[in-house]
Symmetry: C2
Subunit: 232 residues, 2 copies
Amino acid sequence: MSSASLSVGFLLYPELTQLDLTAAYEVFARAPNVDVHLIWKTQTLVKSDLGLEIMPNASFEAHPKLDIICVPGGPGQIALMDDQETLDYLRRTTKDTKLITSVCTGSLVLGAAGLLEGYRATSHWSSLDQLSLFGATPVAERVVWDRDRVTGAGVTSGIEFALTVIADTHGREIAEEIQLQIEYDPAPPFSCGSPEGASRELLDKLSVRNREFMLKRRNAAERAAARLQALS
Amino acid sequence: MSSASLSVGFLLYPELTQLDLTAAYEVFARAPNVDVHLIWKTQTLVKSDLGLEIMPNASFEAHPKLDIICVPGGPGQIALMDDQETLDYLRRTTKDTKLITSVCTGSLVLGAAGLLEGYRATSHWSSLDQLSLFGATPVAERVVWDRDRVTGAGVTSGIEFALTVIADTHGREIAEEIQLQIEYDPAPPFSCGSPEGASRELLDKLSVRNREFMLKRRNAAERAAARLQALS
């Protein structure tokens, strides 16, 4: 892939987890000769699950050819699983992209569009197992690269995801330079950033509190998987 | 500090580095009973240095009393150093905030407002030394907490900064839960996230390329420091 010019598109949809998008955006946009497009159906403000309002700058109908498409995750992902207009758009636009990518539960949307069948992929730790509904092999790593599919795990792994992609498209030196400029020399205050590091109590608490939400997500994934199978 | 209700305001200004704000936003907004305000002079879209457009939702004149004010950094910080309206606003609004905070070069803006004199503080590694122009003691750590001042280092340290603050305001359990939910279990692809880890070549390259920009930043800091001294 040449570093001459790279066109990256993010799906920017209501109730996304904004950091899934904004962390990767920051890395991609710092690389030389990269255009980043924020794509949604309407050209009005899109509100994240936690209220941050971001403006799209491209529509499904009109944007330059993309080299990379990236679907972030977040609660709004559940609605996308039943949203044929968006799934059709993803199937259509990925016909000539070089990389089909996601951060967090964005990979479930790729799965629902039938774009992960036979691929190794990752997702937010809480939903990783749902990838197998779409014929993907779940892998508990921060970045999973399988042929032209690159998926990142939960939220902050968008940083590693984007640095890894830029190391490929622009070379290691550019990626290192960006890592230094965003001072990505992490020192997490606690050791609980993954389920392996978290206490049983914390995992149980989240499991109880999020039960209803997780059921909605699973049901949406199962409906989408059933539709995919009916198509094939 | 009670966890009953916490009001956090970010300064959202043109040509900020959006990830300075969005990473910390994600953490704060996930904590229970937190309201986050994005504050700017005008209620129109604010464009980051790399083109992301975010909508403010509060003005200098009208927002609830803030418990925490946070100034992110980015190239637009240079203009703020000479912007008396913004510096006056910061001096005014911080009179009754509980924590005065920043991420990245936002600390230079706090310095220009006279809010870091006699405090230990941090900033983006490239500009850390400029803090001493404002009577602050530069500290090369990812999060520096001195009495009611909390400053984060470059860009991605906004994650550690916000988790550290939430551990104080809401308790360690809530902060751990957020760290798990944003899957902050970092695995940076390279070891160059700080100048100590970066090669001499990379540091030299950046130093040459950014010379003009860094001179602009230093000149602005020196002008602001001179004005502060004239006032005192």
